[in-house]
Amino acid sequence: MLTIERLNKTFAAPAGAVVALSNIQLQVERGQFITFIGPSGCGKSTLLKIVAGLDTAYEGTVELNGKSITGPGVDKGFIFQEPRLFPWLTVEKNIAANLSLGNAQVRRQVEELIELVRLKGFEKAYPKELSGGMAQRVAIARALLRKPEILLLDEPFGALDAFTRTHMQEALLDIWQNSKTTMLFVTHDLDEAVFLGEKVVIMNPRPGHIRNIINVDLPYPRKRTGVSFQELRSKVLGEFEKVEQPPLLDQGAGI
């Protein structure tokens, strides 16, 4: 279980301190799928980095199973927007990374994961020979091999085309249902947030804080075209439009 209490985070900037996250409160049960959505600068990626242990300069409590997070580790898998594979390793060696494929148990698990992320036949391929979606699946398999308690995904499908993205979303749900890993998924795509999450956390910038948390009580697999999906999407969008837009000039990428 992940517990976040009174989390505050400030960045030092030339023009003075910038509050990136203000008073974040969040409880995530084991095995839940939570999506985070909000305009750029709302601190959703910063929040993910803190949970990953990549950023430890914060105030407040961030605990995984009652233990404070002090640094990165394999129990907190992280998927970046880019696959970040080692270009000199083949697919299977990328998944194993610092573990040896000579170990029979590792070898068997790697083979199972290749099956799970549907990359059979590409074991010996180098990252440069893979498409974006395939490379991202290798990154997911690499994280899953370590049996993470929690998987943190920072806009993982943001760079993919629409068809591949849809496919990857379905693949991720499959993986989640098979592995029962807790998922924290950051996105700027409204459909993606509603399609994937059991809960959608809506975040607001300046300073970054949680605006609302919406439960998505739809059974999986969800139909994007279904009436209830559209109703929930409108509900989230309704919440979303209350988010004050920053002045046009400061608006970055994202929504």
Partner: protein, 277 residues
């Protein structure tokens, strides 16, 4: 999934058509490099046969080949080549290994870079031939000063490119190794060295070239055996054909060692997007 496979298939198809285009040209790829040397040799031989060039300045290729063969048969060739190879190899190994270690060292640590790198960069700008008199004063004209000179020459390219390669290791991949909890040893052997390998091999190739250059210089400053000595000796006696044999030997051995490094590159750098083979 299927779109991905189609994309991959298309790539493979592109490779295939490149191969067939090559076949259509009718000549194997490796043959192209031989066209110009063969034409030049033909013209040269013809000019010699017609008496257009002086045999003492530019002996005919057939005469050079004959001298080559003679040196092979009487054992001089083996003596000179092995003496040179030991010198060049020893110097290269010494300089290259030191360059590799120091390059990794200064590439990894800010502290090491700040203290060591400025001095090394300053020394790098000194023309190596200018320190030969100093080497002779210190160590004489013996084997030691020759090997040391070659080592110094092959040190700089390896050092410089290793340092650069280690420095250019991707910060984003470093973040991945933190999450995957790589040990310090794995960080070095599974991230930093592989990431720096293209640069390291480039440095080695340049330093192989440097070691042959300095070998020739070192052997001409005084030696009793070696290809450079053979050239110098032949010059004294006006044996132009043997001078040519020496030059050809340098060219052959230089090309051979370069091909060897390329072979290693092909084996270990096939993952690299920028590597063209």
């Amino acid at each position: 999934m299927s779109t991905n496979e189609v994309a991959l298939g298309a790539k493979a198809g592109g490779r295939q058509s490149a191969v067939s285009r090559e076949r259509k040209a009718g000549m194997p790829k490796w043959l192209y490099g031989w066209v110009i040397p063969v034409i030049v040799l033909g013209l040269w031989e013809a000019a010699s046969a017609l008496g257009l060039v002086s045999q003492s300045a530019l002996p005919a290729p057939s005469r050079i080949a004959e001298a080559f063969w003679k040196l092979c048969v009487n054992g001089d060739m083996a003596k000179h080549v092995s003496a040179s190879a030991i010198r060049a190899g020893g110097g290269f190994l010494l300089g290259g290994a030191t360059g590799l270690l120091l390059g990794v060292f200064t590439g990894l640590g800010k502290w090491a870079e700040r203290t060591l790198d400025p001095s090394i960069q300053m020394l790098r700008t000194v023309p190596l031939l200018a320190v030969i008199p100093l080497f002779i004063l210190w160590f004489g004209v013996g084997e030691f000063s020759k090997v040391l000179l070659i080592a110094l020459g092959s040190f700089f390219p390896v050092y410089f490119h290793t340092h650069l390669g280690v420095r250019s290791a991707d910060r984003k991949l470093y973040e991945v190794t933190r999450i995957l909890q790589y040990s310090k040893l794995h960080l070095l052997t599974k991230l930093i060295i592989p990431a720096a390998l293209p640069n390291i091999l480039l440095g080695i190739r340049l330093s192989v070239g440097a070691s042959w250059l300095l070998l020739a210089v070192a052997e001409m400053m005084g030696a009793s055996a070696g290809v450079g000595y053979m050239i110098q000796d032949a010059r004294v006696y006006g044996q132009t054909d043997i001078v040519f044999v020496g030059i050809i030997l340098f060219a052959l051995v230089g090309k051979l060692s370069d091909s060897l490094v390329r072979l290693v590159e092909r084996r270990y750098l096939q993952w690299n997007n920028n590597y063209k083979g």
